[in-house]
């Protein structure tokens, strides 16, 4: 029996424009060991600023997803939590998760924006998905403004290692707007016990014979606060001679200040510190309450990663070191004398 269906011809241009309901953002909630990444919580705050609904997306292995979804449901700003579990999602491989995202964002999607932290994982995924949908993406935004009437979203983002700020506009005709968020620019969303977002399971989209397999992951183990979100950072440069001296000099200082440890590119290249500690244009961007730079000269590329810190203090033997141009307080001294003295005196005050 033929059922008559009324077909409404919708002009392609119309579909791009706002409806009365406003934007609906899909936010990637990344997680590890059951805990949602703080970068994703900043992405959530950014998504809220669009002014519409926000759906969180949790992907992972079945054992992990369950707990993460329960935490996600209580996050301030989330209207709903979408989740998909599969052994295939145990390690997030862009080629493997992309098909699911493409399905969620296909032509009749209700999502207007796709948001994530500017994390190494998410920034490997979002551009791939965007391109497959023939859409552009905006990286590492520091602010946003959405105009519902025209369906345009305007962002600011750093360029030239943060030495200039670009204002970029995604026009109304961009049917889904992808962007990654600089976490230091948006305060992490918090748990609100009164919030109980609804949850919905979505079938994984299986990928037969993925072209990429995960072999191993080696994370640097540390009891210290995570560099990306710590409120205090003690950072060392090439003046620290070798790995042992780097650790031996900076660890007591980081301990007494309750700080994370960072490193300049030179220090990492020379093998004094792990690459995950690198602060800079192409390493981590941090904006803690205190950034204490020890034996760091202050190259443009390093400044790019820390110049939004609240208080910058520096100890360097060279009075002309560029770091002193951005440091709020500078001490010209031999770090091998100054740092132990600093540690001693701080310990006495504790």
């Amino acid at each position: 029996m033929l059922r008559l269906r009324r077909v409404v011809a919708v002009s392609p241009l119309y579909r791009g424009y706002a409806t009365a309901t406003g934007p609906h953002a899909l936010v990637l909630l990344e997680h590890r060991a059951g805990v949602i990444d703080s970068g994703s919580l900043s992405a959530l705050s950014a998504a809220q600023q669009l002014g519409g609904q926000v759906t969180g997306l949790v992907l992972g292995a079945p054992e992990e997803v369950k707990d993460v979804v329960q935490s996600a449901k209580r996050l301030k700003g989330l209207t709903s939590v979408l989740h998909s579990s599969s052994q295939l999602y145990t390690h997030i491989i862009p080629e493997v998760v992309s098909p699911l995202l493409e399905k969620l964002l296909s032509d009749n999607t209700l999502y207007t924006h796709v948001v994530s932290a500017h994390s190494s994982s998410a920034k490997s995924i979002l551009p791939r998905v965007a391109a497959r949908l023939d859409l552009p993406a905006v990286s590492d935004i520091t602010s946003l403004e959405h105009d519902n009437a025209s369906n345009t979203t305007t962002f600011t983002r750093p360029i030239y290692a943060g030495n200039a700020i670009a204002t970029v506009r995604a026009p109304g005709s961009t049917r889904v707007k992808f962007f990654t968020v600089r976490s230091t620019a948006f305060k992490a969303s918090v748990v609100d016990e009164s919030v109980q977002a609804e949850e919905k399971a979505v079938d994984p989209v299986p990928v037969a014979d993925p072209p990429t397999q995960h072999v191993r992951t080696d994370l640097t183990k540390s009891d210290r606060p995570d560099l990306g979100s710590a409120s205090r950072v003690v950072s060392g440069g090439r003046a620290l001679k070798n790995a042992e001296t780097f650790k031996g000099t900076l660890e007591p200082l980081a301990d007494v200040l309750g700080a994370a440890i960072g490193a300049s590119r030179a220090a990492v290249d020379a093998g004094y510190a792990d690459n995950s500690l690198q602060v800079g244009q192409t390493g981590k961007v941090v904006a803690p309450e205190l950034y204490l730079a020890i034996g760091i000269s202050g190259a443009i590329q390093h400044l790019a990663g820390m110049k939004d810190s609240k208080l910058i203090a520096a100890i360097n033997k060279d009075p002309e070191a560029p770091i002193f141009q951005v440091a709020d307080v500078g001490l010209v001294a031999d770090l091998y004398e100054a740092v132990p003295e600093l540690v001693e005196k701080l310990k006495q005050q504790a």
Binding site: I93, P94, E95, S119, S120, K123, I125, P127, R128, A130, L135, P136, D140, Y160, N163, A164, I165, A166, T167, V168, R169, A170, P171, T174, P211, T212, V215, R216, D218, L219, T220, G228, D255, V256, L257, R265, N275, S276, Q281, K284, E289, I300, Q301, K307, L311, I312, A313, I315, P319, A327, D328, V329, G330, L331, A338, E341, L342, K347, Q349, A350
Partner: protein, 268 residues
């Protein structure tokens, strides 16, 4: 007679001509862009990509059939191609755009690169390019290209081992918390991170040899690609200025300044 079962690798290295990394950039008073009358060089991450391709040939020898570099840029970008040729690439493609053209965005670049790859008669097995360009710091082109081609991708590579016989590569990547190792089938797009290698300086003999290596000129129209960006850059401004606060004369004074700012030691 050598068995011909092994496919020889054709490597494509997209490169970008950018403002030199050491230049202190200045924002123009009209707030539409930065002063581009400054020294330009090959994007440092793309230099690393060219170097990696050349090292792969040094390692795999005849199994690397060709190393081709490609750039989208104004006439002056040909100099950047010559540098890559001097480092060891065999030939180059220059997708020429006028000086006045707006900078293409990653999606447009990826579409142009896809068109180049689809036109390569011998095919392309490996695309190696920088993880980001130091001008726009977008970091998307490699992933977008891999997406458009539906190829494997491995971003932020700090180590690459290619097995042409198995047609796969093992890539170690720098990720937020440490390192990750992936195994990918070819064809593959790799984006380079800082520590993958240290690029060589081209020797004078190689610079001279490079002058004779072929550069094919194409336009976006030849590739049936429109490079007009979708995203509009409506303003370029200076960041909030950070002024230094001056120096103190002793550790005691430093501690006092920290205390003033509310920074005190934690109880152990």
């Amino acid at each position: 007679m050598r068995p011909s079962a092994v496919r020889l690798l054709n490597i494509l290295v997209p490169i970008k001509r950018t403002v030199d990394y050491a230049v202190k950039i200045r924002v123009n008073p009209d707030q539409k862009g930065i002063d581009l009358n400054v020294k330009h060089s090959m994007n440092p991450f793309d230099e690393i990509a060219v170097e990696e391709a050349v090292r792969l040939r040094e390692k795999l020898k005849d199994e690397v059939k060709s190393i081709k570099v490609v750039t989208i840029g104004p006439p002056k970008a040909a100099e950047t191609l010559r540098t890559a040729l001097a480092m060891g690439a065999d030939s180059a493609i220059h997708i020429e755009v006028p000086d006045s053209a707006p900078a293409p965005e990653p999606l447009g670049v990826a579409k142009a690169l896809r068109a180049v790859i689809q036109r390569e008669k011998e095919g392309v097995d490996l695309v190696i390019l920088g993880k980001q360009a130091i001008d726009d710091d977008a970091g998307q082109t490699g992933q977008m290209l891999a997406g458009l081609l539906d190829w494997a991708q491995a971003t932020f590579a700090s180590k690459v081992v290619v097995d042409p016989k198995k047609k796969e590569a093992e890539v170690t990547r720098e990720i937020d918390g440490g390192l990750e190792e992936l195994r990918s089938r070819l064809p593959l797009v790799i984006t380079t991170d800082l520590r993958l290698n240290e690029p060589r300086y081209a020797s004078l003999p190689n610079i001279m040899k490079a002058k004779k290596k072929p550069i094919q000129k194409l336009t976006p129209a030849d590739l049936e690609v429109d490079l007009t960006p979708i995203l509009e850059t409506i303003k370029v401004a200076e960041p909030p200025k950070r002024v230094g606060g001056g120096k103190v004369g002793s550790v005691d004074e430093l501690i006092a300044k920290l205390k003033e700012a509310g920074i005190t030691p934690v109880k152990s």
